[in-house]
Symmetry: C2
Subunit: 345 residues, 2 copies
């Protein structure tokens, strides 16, 4: 890995291919340091994915596809093993395996074809962000009227995709047209993606927002300070169950009790018709040190045992609607994932 | 303030009177440093309460009463102002004003009488912990059977009282008799009382436990890993609404959805028949720096705006039962605070 401090990341995609390397914004360094990493081996790509230097289901998929492009330039004998290692670098998001497989399928046509396929996946994610922003903004205005006050969780902005974002792309679209009331960003323990990344993106974009502890979300909803919850998904199951960053389910319970919409914005690439329900998803249990520490300092006594599920499952009955880049599925009025065709809003 | 590192705090009460000073365990230093603070002026007591060097509704009440004893030894002309400043040092818990008023009422009989009243309040808190431990343990066994797996939030152990605790006293009592399955301690952002204080107390006592991010609680309940939630209260309202550390309401929503008991353990001194509902309680909004960082480490970008309510309100319909030192009120079977007499279990 080589890294370079960058005076500005303006216009820099989260993941890109340049000069025979995968170039990513190092999200472990934000918001304190704006830095790019050049990854030149499959092992470095896997490591970046596992350390969350690149994170967010769509961004991980693109990084994985570019990782396959790196593998395709190496010895043919090690290609299959490299692809398999990339596929399973993180278990929860379906995008990763899917993007890796798609790029790998071009291997017989040579490394140039693999790279071209990875570039196509990246371009599709950009177009997908634009579509989600448009469909999501229209839905928020329909359900909440003008100047809705939204609560979001984790990071679903440009840093989770290539540019734009998923749920945060909707926020940016509403803000750009003067139709946003404000945002509460949930800090998202243990890794604080909300405090570190979402606050950074919202601040740079001039969006009015407040940061809050995760446990405060449902209470702010109960006090009438939030008009809708809008967030992303790592996987959407066939029955509409949503697998997303730990803490999502709490916000869904809060929204249901407060009677406000709970909206999930995620590309079709996260929808997995082969996973029947949330109970069928392997939930990654991550390093205890994430919970016993905070921003690099230990806060709990040494040796403290930990429960650290990285994701949770929000049952479909708590989800008002799922917005993808190609359709809006209104679960709360009885629509099912299978019954809503692509292209339906 | 003078402080002294202490090689062991074993047997040390959280708040005590010694040699014309209020001696407290410095909870801002735990778990890294075990240190006592000697507070010799009313201003130092107020500062310790506001910095959360002493926290937990019962402990704050005792500290306030000892603060009145300090005031009573000073000039008579400044006594009333000192008492008023102590009363309002923190706004949410009713114990503080009540304990301060009770100690102050002895002022006409002299400083010795004020101190004796403060010592009585401290002794009553110790007896109260014992009673809650007994009543709460019996209720957990009745509702969940043997070896219940409990989730708790914030710190309700000896550090929140004088010795013993409230909800954590129940945990200790179950553990002592071999009837506890285990504990999940919720870390309790922003100030991490769960990670710093509850983990420290549980570890010292040899109680099997795991630490978890606040947002993980409801999901662990949904996965069937928790048999009941048990936690404290800063104020219990006349209608049974519970005001407690931010994040409590999320756990209550999770417990209701999972169909497991949600138990609140707090002394009668936190029950306030004069506060009709949770909506009538002033919710303290604390320093934004608590959310943007921890322990001096900033994680969010500089200048990030914050929503930081220190407490939330759990509506009484989500509360299975309230255990005090003198009765058990089973809200889930229709009992009301007013209808259950002292002495009823």
């Amino acid at each position: 890995v080589s890294s370079a401090a960058s005076s500005s990341l303006a216009g820099q995609p989260t993941v890109a291919w340049a000069d025979a390397a995968v170039v990513i914004i190092d999200q472990t360094a934000l918001p304190g340091t704006e830095r790019l990493l050049r990854l030149t081996t499959v092992r470095e790509v896997i490591d970046a994915v596992q350390r969350l230097a690149v994170r967010g289901a769509p961004a991980i998929g693109v990084a994985g596809a570019f990782g396959v492009a790196l593998a395709a330039r190496g010895p043919a004998g090690s290609f299959a093993a490299a692809v398999e290692a990339l596929r399973i670098a993180r278990p929860t998001a379906v995008n990763l395996a899917r993007a890796v497989d798609r790029a790998a399928s071009q291997f017989p046509a040579g490394p140039g074809a693999v790279l071209a396929e990875a570039e196509r996946i990246a371009a599709e994610e950009v177009a997908s962000s634009d579509a989600m922003a448009r469909l999501g903004a229209a839905l928020v205005i329909e359900l909440c009227g003008d100047r809705a006050r939204l609560l979001t969780h984790c990071n679903t902005g440009a840093l989770a995709t290539v540019t734009g974002g998923t749920a945060l792309a909707v926020v940016f679209a509403l803000h750009a047209t003067g139709r946003l009331g404000g945002v509460v960003a949930s800090e998202t323990r243990p890794l604080l993606q909300g405090a570190r990344l979402t606050a950074w993106e919202l601040g740079r974009a001039g969006v009015p927002f407040r940061l809050a502890a995760d446990g405060a979300g449902p209470f702010l909803m109960a006090r009438g300070e939030i008009d809708a919850v809008i967030l992303g998904a790592d996987r959407v199951c066939a029955n509409g169950d949503v697998v997303n960053k730990i803490g999502t389910y709490s916000h869904a319970l809060g929204a249901a009790r407060a009677g406000i919409p709970f909206l999930v914005v995620a590309p079709e690439s996260t929808v997995d018709p082969d996973t029947a329900t949330g109970a069928d998803v392997v939930i990654e249990d991550r390093d205890p040190a994430e919970v016993t520490g905070f921003g690099g300092i230990a806060v709990a006594p040494a040796g403290t045992p930990v429960a650290n599920p990285a994701f949770d499952v929000t049952p479909h009955d708590l989800v008002t609607a799922i917005v993808t880049d190609r359709r809006v599925i209104r679960l709360s009025i009885g629509q099912s994932m299978a019954a809503v065709p692509l292209g339906a809003t």
